[in-house]
Symmetry: C2
Subunit: 100 residues, 2 copies
């Protein structure tokens, strides 16, 4: 299992529209092979800052299976126009955990 991490800078004033679009888009990513879970979080200190965390079986499930799919074109059309600047995606592997 790997964790996709991306900090999403949403254009100020478009937060509600972004959240509505994300509610539609999340079903797209959740239908992809290798998808395990996601959480979208909103920053308390910077209200236009969001955090997207997605668990995948492998990096390839995200970067090839999803990013090179037809479904990704729809995801991109729904969401990418909300971001400025365009965010950087990274992948993480777990070192240690405590709790649920």
């Amino acid at each position: 299992m790997i964790l996709e991490h991306v900090l999403l800078p949403v254009v100020a004033g478009r937060e509600d529209a972004f959240e509505a679009a994300f509610a539609e888009a999340k079903g797209i990513i959740a239908s992809m092979p290798g998808f395990r879970s996601l959480r979208l979080e909103r920053c308390i200190e910077r209200r236009s800052g969001y955090l997207l965390l997605v668990e995948w079986d492998t990096v390839e499930d995200h970067m090839v299976g999803f990013r090179e799919s037809e479904e990704y074109l729809r995801w991109r059309a729904l969401l990418h126009h909300f971001y400025d600047p365009f965010p950087t995606v990274e992948h993480y592997e777990t070192v240690t955990t405590i709790g649920p």
Copy 2:
């Protein structure tokens, strides 16, 4: 519940020592009132980049209960010398989730 998010830039070459120190330090934070869970993650693309996610009941449990405690002094002594530059902590609240 809120999520503490911090990207930890560990000095290159000190990753193993940092992980060993974190294994000792994690019990400190896990003992604090309001602590719910943590995960320490290591970046696949940038091997000296780590991500710490901690769930707390409230922002105050982290920023006052932990940061102003005696326990925090020991946490800081164990871990802060590994970071360059010093990281920025933010807090997030959940917008939506899918999966476990």
